[in-house]
Structures are given as structure tokens and as C-alpha cells.
Symmetry: C3
Subunit: 452 residues, 3 copies
């Protein structure tokens, strides 16, 4: 118990620091950001309002993806670890949003590390009449959205990367170390890497293209997942005497709900990445996104039916996510027919990848690496194949992100492993993390097999 | 296993054909469709953008209905068939959207069969800069939405008809035959029948009125459900020695989640059928839709409490759907007080219908025929009672749709039955379709009674 | 059985009266309401359409909160009472909307009791071409929304108060008495109290501020919950020989789904309370709402980890709701950094409150009193601390609402207790309300421990 105290004493201090510290240089920071937007753009108040309204709709759609991730992860793992997974996912979005406010937002846009860290972060803007210039609330800031919309839409994105990791390391990672690693990943690694492209950094200057984040969000999350899986090792009983044992998820309805909510949220994830309500662009993105998801389902369905002789629901679910991740980089710039092709290939790819990753004895309970890393890379490269963008530049981007994201995640996981320890005890893993970490059961009253 | 290979070899060829073939005559088709919209309408870019944004919101709301259907169907059936139902519902939306793109959309609008089949379908439009005229992306196409929005909103509708069938034939139909029947139904029957009214066909010329599809969507789905139930016969143990045995659903929370999601989606289903963001029309439709759903709950609650002595949750849930289906045909054209009446009567009707259909030994596990066919007919006729539309014309429409939809579905089901067989083996039905068709359980680790 | 008949004969008469009676003086009422809006405001049709569209989006978001409440309440209680809770929550929204149409809406705005009761209520407006002046459908009624939008947005709010009560009295209250009490509370108490502030009544004249209803909705619901808990007494086995026994909820996934849906819905609850799509105001409210929820999670997580040594998921879930309730009164008027502080304190407060209320032997199965009453008061007072509004006036408002809401609810509960009886029999409570009140199980086929 003493350990616990010490550890989240640290957590508490971090949280408080995050909240109090930023106020310091608030005024300067606010002034700096607002100066950027001096000239009012040529846009009517009506158009600005529509754009902003759509961006807020996209924001709540991305928000609901976090519930989707939680349901999917819970559904594909065992009943005894349910509370732990739900806890992680609830905590991640809260931590992710607050750290993004404290440092991430200003680290990513404009990417000035010193301003972000010492200038007050997003909290520098203290509220109406207390520091925010009117420019932040009008089209003078951006014709597509207000300053506040900009922040909240991006903040919803940020926590996604951490959530992707969550699924891969499920059922064996200690709670506090997990929260620390993912907090740091979301607060620093994700926004820094994001600034390369969306912050107007070197990759965007090179002509790299990643519309809504096949690489910036999904691969970055996927690299973190891969690092976590390597450092943690497989769950007990997964690989025994060279044999691969399937560990079934405990609720396919939850997994399916999760996937449908993710698909729903993707309308905001991709549709909001247009950064305005432009009718042609947003509706086109809706079409490519949907067709890719549908084709992903078909691709996975046909492959799994052939390979496994029976149509596997979890593969089909991952197939739709694969299609969605695959189309994310090019949803606005590939032909409709090609969005089908991209999704179809992603659906086949995810089935192959899940099988191969399992053969490599990398234990990823929900297939996060296959869905987000493999299909994130595929989607980014597909932009180089199916649109006018350069394949080589796309490849450079993919490699560059991997070259930083993976080692960074690896270092974080190893550092935590060396200090706090990262894996629950064997006894706790077998008994379940719900009782071990949280002292409660997810399904009180239900008879559940102990081996599960 | 050999059979499986052969069968979805066919499926694979179909899927590929669907994707590759349409490219052929793309340019001509695109040109033809765009010609229709030569004159730019008198509408501001702002208004066009709002309209289009609302239609996209309506689109994602209709999308979420598919999750609603999945949850409802799963909740009202037994645990052992859960994976199968989730699989069907995930596959249906994917197949439905892709077939609608390939043939359905152009078959329904403008209803030119030859263009739809040989002109490339929706895929004829190959994407930005590769075939789509700018007219498809501006108010020149339609003041309410872009070409892409038109397609994606309608595509979300199309799969609904198949999903309605899914619930009625649950727990005993083979997977592949089901997918084939519903694919053909969605690809050809639904859009052809739809073209009679929404495609500007003969019924619309006669003055038939069906605002959002009490008949065009719900009855059409309901007729398919009825045909399926007749061809399949009841589940084992449902009717024994003239006695009706209730087979309880395994998760009332899932059923309730399903109904609330359907209600939510209906705001888009009916609200989007205004085909613009017109403030008066859309808000009026929100009001009638909500009041009818609420009245449906009350109607079903009071009836079931009287008839069954205890208030039955599944009846009340179906009551809200009954109210929603009932108001769908006239949501924009009946008085507010009449929307309450229509919903109330639908709620009573669904309780009576569920009981009578059961007495007729038609085994419909989720009450799909009662909700969608019976209340779809009621809602269509109600337009002839509560608005200025002719009752006789409404009746003609109801009969005409039944006269085609039911035999068409019957032929499809019988054809599949004669060739592939349609019903799982007795052993598989008792053991559950999850293990039989998919080789997996929905609730791994939970103790579930074998008889269930 | 005889009792049942008699009782809901009353219910049926009430329902019918509600539907038929209002028609009477319809025309006069309609005329009166429309007169208010004679001068068309200075707003473009485009802006009016955007505003109205956003308000309808907010409406469906608030609608989905009812599913959130249902899932949360079900998840935090025992499996044997699931059907009963789902039934209550489905019935409440239906009854709430219909009674709000019949009396609530006109009682709250403009608060003229005689018009509301005898003038036809909302149903006075009979529909297009049957009584509604065009003014109700244009910006002449209100620049932010049509007459219909006004009603439907407010109607979704109204049922919330009843739903809050539902959670607190769960697992032991009889169905019919519950429905009667909450119907009367929603039809009369809630709108009358609401008229004090939102109807332009005495509190609004005093300068009281409650942006979206920390007091008007949440405290009012919370006071009802407190009254119900007192009248009902604790569940069997909860407090035995001075010892407090925790009664675990049966589905933490459902509880978590509930909280995420509530959070989602709150974007509409608070965002819609701007009453237009004003870009600055709505996006600012999105930010404060989200940050408060996130901070509530952190506040509860840290407190529970310290106090209970293990991080408690249900506390963290309630923490996010606490943050949301806390920010509701001032979401548009406190600084961003203060929204974090308000949420953080609410998160700590809810943990302390749940523990103290349990020590006081007030058995509130879902923590409704702590979340909605305690944090509702906190949020209202916080407006007096963190904005320019007077703390004293805020306190007066808090006290005034409590002074009416609590006794009113108490009288309702006591009256029902004296006449119909309010609590199920001991045998039924132990066996579960699902079988007792509804004759069905929620999880047919699952092995569930009888003691649960």
C-alpha cells in the first residue's frame, strides 16, 4: 500500500502542476496566438457558423470513438479483466484531454516546445473576459472554427493514440505504469510527431500527405502498441510449448457495439478533418470512408472464410476497422472506386497480419497492431498509389514516424519496467486484474468459469 | 467444406464483378446524371452548406440504426445464436452499401435499369478529378445536398430492408443462403420498388404518399420477413403439440439499447427525409416522430398490462418501434395531435399482431412482421385518414407493394432452399448457430444453460 | 390482479384525458403564443436555419442521455432487477414527453398555469394548416429555433428529472406508484419550478444564474431522489446490525456505456442551452464541459485511490458525471481553468458524498443524490465564486429550489405510500422485481447466483 501512496502522490503532483502552473505566462501566450490571425478572412458569419457547427458535431463523434474502443477491447478480452479495461479507457480520455490542454495542443500547433511548456499551454487562455481576444471566437482565428473548437476537436484525437496502445497491452499490464506511459506518450510524443505534418513541420514541407491520420494517429498508436507488446511479453497460457492457444473474448456483442461506434465516430474523424463543412469535400469523405469500411468487412469475411473455413466475427469486425484506418490518409483524395479497393485490401491484410503476428508470438489481444499499424502504413502508402502524391514521400513519412515513435515508446515502457515494474504478478493475472487492481468484479452475480 | 468453397467462390466473383465491372461505361453515366442538373438553383452557398450538413448528420443517424437492429435482434434471441446474428448484421450493412453503390442507387434514381446495370452504377463516378463534374458537388445537383450525400444517405436506408428480414429468420437460417437472399433483395427488389415512388414512378404520379418509407422501406422489409418465416418454418420447440412456447431473449439490456438507438436513428431517417435543413419541416418531423414513439410506448404498455396482466418490456420496446414505423409515412403531413393517435394505435396494434402472428404459428423471434409490416401498412393508411391524401390511393400503394415484394421474396427464399438449402441442421439449431456456423461462442467463460 | 386493473384504469384515463382534453381551446392558445412574436428579428434565413439545425442536434443528444441513464442504472444494480429498470426508463421518457406536451411546456413557458391546464397545452397547436401560424416556424418566433424545436428540446430535458429519481429508488419501488409519482413530478413540479428562472420568473429577476440546469434540472431531480430514498428506506441487506454492506452492480460495461452516453448527451444539454449555434459560445461550452468532466474523473480517481486504496471504477464513472453536473450552471461563464477546478472539486465531492450518504444509511444504489443534488448545488454556487454572479443570489436560488422540490416530492411519495403502497414485498425484493413485477428475466439462459 505504501508504494501506491508514493506513486500516485507523484500522479497527484503532476495533475496539480498541470493545472496550476500553466496560468503563469498566460497573457503573453494568448497574445502571441491571436496575433497570428490579424486579417479577417473573406467569409460570411453564416458560413463560419455552419463550419464551426459541423466541426463540433465531428468533435462529439470522435468523442464517442473512445466508448467504441472501450467496448471493443472489453469484448475481445476475458471477463475477469473487464473493470480494469474500462477503468483504463475512462482514465485515458480524461488524462489525454487534460494533458493535451496543458502541453499537447501548443506543442503540436505551432510546435514551439518552449511556449507550450512554459507559456501556459491551452490554459493560458483563461476564459471569456479573462484573457481571450475576440479573434479566437470569430472567423479571424480560422474560417472553419473558433479557437475553442480547434482545441476540443484536436484534444479528442489525441487520446486516441493512447487508447490504441491500451488494447494491445490488455490483461497483463499494471494500471499505474500504463497510465504513466500513455500520459507521456499523449502529452509529448504524439503532439511532437504530429507537428511534423499538421503543425506545418518538415514532412508537410516535403509534400507528405496524411489527410486524417493513418500515420499521425493510427501508426503512432500502433508503434506504441508494438513496443508495449514486446516489453510485456505474452499473456500466461497464450504460447505453450510452441503451440498458439486462442484466448476468446468474453462478449461479442460488446465487441460489435465497439466497432459500430468506431465506424460512427469515423464520420467525424475523417469528416471533421476537412476542417470545414465544405459540402463537396465532407460528403465525398463520408462516401469513401463508408465504402472502405464496407469493403474491409468483405475483404476480411472472404479471407477468413477461406483460411479458417468458418467466417470469424472478430476478423470481420477488425476488417471494417482495417478499411477505416486504411482510408484515413486519403479519404479526400482517392477515387471512389479506389476507396473500395483500399478497404478490400486492408480487410485481407488485417486477417493475414493477425495470423502472422500471432505466429511471431507477439500477443496482441485485440489485433491493435494489425489494425492500426499495418493498415495505417497501408493507407499512407495507398495515397502514394491511388492519388497524385509521391509514393516515395509517403514511404519516407511512414519510416520517419516509425523511427521515432517505436523507440520512444520502447524507452518509455522499458523505463517504467525498470522502475515501477510493468506486469502484474502471475497470481493476479490468473485471478484477473479486476480483483487484483480494483478489488471488484465486472459481472457480480454471474457464474463465470474460473479458468477464464 | 467443399460446398463452402464453391459457394463463396460465387460470392467472391460477385463481389469482384461488382467492383470491377462498373468502371466500364463510367464516363457516359456520369455525364448523363450531371446533365439533369444544368440550371443552378436560387440558393445561397450558405444555405446549401447547411442543408448538406444536416443531410450528413441524418446519414450517420441512419447508420447507427444498423447497430440498433443488431442489438435488438441479439437481445431478443438466445445466447447461442448471438455471434451469428452479429455477423449477419455486420455483413448486411457492408454488402448492402456496396451493392447499392453497384446497382441499387441508379436502379432507384432515376430507375433506368439498363443504365444501372451496364452503365457503371454509382462507381461510374470515379472520384475527384477522375470523372465527377463539379455540378455533383454544388447546389446545381440539388439544393439540399451533393451527389455524394444523395448516395450515402440513400445507401444507409437500403440495407435497412435486409436487416428487417434478418430478425424474423433468426436462429435457424443458414448464413450463406441468408446473405445471398438479402443481397439480391437489397440490390434489386428494394430499389426497383422504391423507384415507383421516390424515383418518380407510377405510384408517385398517382398521388401516393409515403414520406420516409412506412411502405417503401418498412413494409418492403416486412414482406420479405413474412416470406422468410413461411419458407423456413418455426424454430424447434416453438410450437409443440399445438402449444405455443415462449422462447425468451437472452439480454433485455441489449434489446433496450437497440430500441433507443433505433429511435435515435429515426431522427435522421425521418428528419433527413425532408431532404434539406428546412427549419419548420425538420423540427415538425422531430416532434411528430417523438410523440408517435412515446405514444407507441404507452399504447403497448397499457395493452400488454391489460392482456398479459404484467407489463411486458419487449412489448413496450416494440411499441416504440411501432409508433416510429407508423409515423414514418406521414411525419411531415399529419397534425401533432394525430401523430400521438397514430403512435398510440400502432402501439396497441403491435401487441395484438405479435399475439395473432404467434397464434398463426408464424415464428418471428423479434416481432419484425408486426412492427415493420403491420405498422408500416397502418402508417401508410393513416396518411389517408389524417391528412389530405386519398385513402384509396394509399391502399392501392400498400397492395401494390405487397403484390410484388412478397412473391419476390418468396421466390428468392424458395430458390435458395431448393439449391443450397436454407435451414441449419437440427443438431446445429439445438447446439446453436454460433458454434455451428462460426465455430465460436459469444460469451466465452459464462455459464449458460445448455437448453438455451 | 383486481388492483392492477383499477390502477391502470386510472392511468389509461389519465393518458386519454391528456390526449383528448387539450384540443378544446386550441385556437385561442395558439393565437396567444404567436402574438408574442410579432416583429421579425434581424437575422438571415441562413443563420436561422443553422441555429435551428444545431438545436435539433442538441435535442437528439439529450435524447440519448436517457439511454445513458438506463444503462448506468442497470449496470450499478443487480441482474434480477434489470427488466424493471429498463421498463421504468423506457416508460419515463414516453410519459415525460407526453405530459410535457400536455401541460409542462406551457406551464414552464410562459408559466401561466391556467392557460397550460385549460388552454390546450402544446397540443393546442394541432399541426400544419390546422392551427399553427407560420410565425412558429420562422425566426419571427425566435431567432434560434422554431416553435417545434423549442418544444422538443425542452421536452427531452423534462424527463431527465424523473430519470434521476429512478436510480435512487431502484430495486425496491413498485412500478405503478413510481410511474405516478414521477409523472406528476415531471408534469407539474419540474415545469413550475423551471418557470421561476427559465420562464422569466422571480429568480431570474433577482439575477440568479443557472445556465443549463445544475439546479433547475439536476438538483430538482436530486431532491426528488432524496425524498424517495427517505420514504422507501434501504434495500434488504444493505444495512445490517449497523454494518454497511456493499451491493455490487451486475454489469460494469453497461455502467460505463451509460456514463459515456451521458457525457456525449451533455454536449447537447449544455451546448444546446446556448439556444443558438453561436460559434464562440457553443464551442466555449464544449470546452468547459469536456474539461470539467475530465477533471471530475481525475478528482474521483485520486480520492478513491487514496481513501479506498484501490481505484474504484464506479467512483470514477460518477466522477465524470459529477464534473458534468458541476459545470452545467456556469459552462458559458466561468474561465477555462476554473472549469477544470470546478470539475476536480466535483469529482472529490462525489466520492465524499457517496461515502457520507451511505454512512447516513440513505440507500442510493447509483449515487444519484451525490451526483445530481450535491454536485448540482456545488455547480450553482460555483457560478457565484468563479463568475461575476452574486454568491448570495446563487445560494438563495439553491435554497428556494430545495424548499419546494424536496417537500413536494416528499408529499408525492408519502401520498402514494399511503394509498397504493410504494414498496414491493420482501419476497419480491429478494426474488427480484423482474420476475415479481414483469414475469420475465433479463438474462434468460445465464446462470446467475440466487443471492444476487
Amino acid at each position: 500500500m505504501r508504494t501506491n501512496w508514493k506513486l500516485f502522490g507523484v500522479l497527484g503532483v503532476l495533475a496539480l502542476g498541470m493545472i496550476i502552473a500553466p496560468g503563469a505566462f498566460a497573457q503573453e501566450e494568448a497574445a502571441a496566438a491571436v496575433e497570428v490571425a490579424e486579417a479577417a478572412p473573406e467569409i460570411s458569419l453564416e458560413m463560419f457558423t455552419i463550419n464551426n457547427t459541423w466541426m463540433l458535431v465531428a468533435t462529439f463523434l470522435v468523442f464517442i470513438m473512445h466508448l467504441g474502443f472501450a467496448c471493443l477491447e472489453v469484448g475481445l478480452t476475458r471477463a475477469k479483466n473487464t473493470v480494469n479495461i474500462l477503468f483504463k479507457n475512462t482514465a485515458i480520455i480524461a488524462i489525454g484531454i487534460l494533458t493535451y490542454a496543458a502541453v499537447g495542443f501548443n506543442l503540436m500547433y505551432p510546435g514551439d516546445f518552449s511556449v507550450a511548456m512554459f507559456g501556459g499551454g491551452f490554459f493560458g487562455f483563461a476564459g471569456p473576459g479573462v484573457g481571450t481576444d475576440a479573434a479566437g471566437l470569430t472567423a479571424a482565428y480560422n474560417p472553419g472554427y473558433t479557437y475553442w473548437t480547434d482545441f476540443i476537436f484536436q484534444a479528442m484525437f489525441a487520446a486516441t493514440a493512447a487508447t490504441i496502445i491500451s488494447g494491445a497491452v490488455a490483461e497483463r499490464i499494471k494500471l499505474l505504469p500504463f497510465l504513466i506511459v500513455t500520459s507521456l506518450y499523449v502529452a509529448f510524443i504524439y503532439p511532437w510527431l504530429g507537428s511534423w505534418q499538421w503543425g506545418g513541420g518538415w514532412l508537410s514541407e516535403k509534400g507528405f500527405y496524411d489527410f486524417a491520420g493513418s500515420t499521425l494517429v493510427h501508426s503512432v498508436g500502433g508503434w506504441g502498441a508494438l513496443a508495449g507488446v514486446i516489453v510485456l511479453g505474452p499473456r500466461i497460457g497464450k504460447y505453450v510449448n510452441g503451440k498458439i492457444n486462442a484466448i476468446s473474448g468474453h462478449s461479442m456483442p460488446l465487441a460489435t457495439i465497439g466497432v459500430f461506434l468506431l465506424w460512427l465516430g469515423w464520420f467525424g474523424f475523417n469528416g471533421g478533418s476537412v476542417l470545414s463543412a465544405d459540402p463537396g469535400a465532407v460528403s465525398f469523405v463520408f462516401v469513401t470512408t463508408t465504402l472502405a469500411a464496407a469493403a474491409g468487412v468483405i475483404g476480411a469475411m472472404v479471407s477468413t472464410w477461406i483460411v479458417q473455413k468458418k467466417p470469424d466475427l472478430s476478423m470481420v469486425l477488425n476488417g471494417s476497422l482495417a478499411g477505416l484506418v486504411g482510408i484515413t490518409a486519403g479519404a479526400d483524395s482517392v477515387a471512389v472506386i479506389d476507396s473500395v479497393l483500399i478497404g478490400l485490401i486492408a480487410g485481407v491484410l488485417v486477417v493475414a497480419s493477425v495470423i502472422l503476428i500471432d505466429k511471431a508470438k507477439l500477443d496482441d489481444p485485440v489485433g491493435a497492431i494489425s489494425v492500426h499499424l499495418v493498415c495505417g502504413i497501408w493507407g499512407t502508402l495507398a495515397v502514394g498509389i491511388f492519388s497524385e502524391n509521391s509514393f516515395v514521400t509517403q514511404l519516407i513519412g511512414v519510416v520517419a514516424y516509425g523511427a521515432i515513435a517505436f523507440p520512444a515508446a520502447l524507452i518509455l515502457f522499458l523505463a517504467v519496467k525498470a522502475t515501477l515494474g510493468i506486469r502484474v504478478s502471475e497470481k493476479e493475472e490468473i485471478g484477473g486484474l479486476d480483483v487484483g487492481e480494483h478489488g471488484m468484479e465486472a459481472y457480480s452475480g454471474f457464474q463465470i468459469f474460473t479458468s477464464q
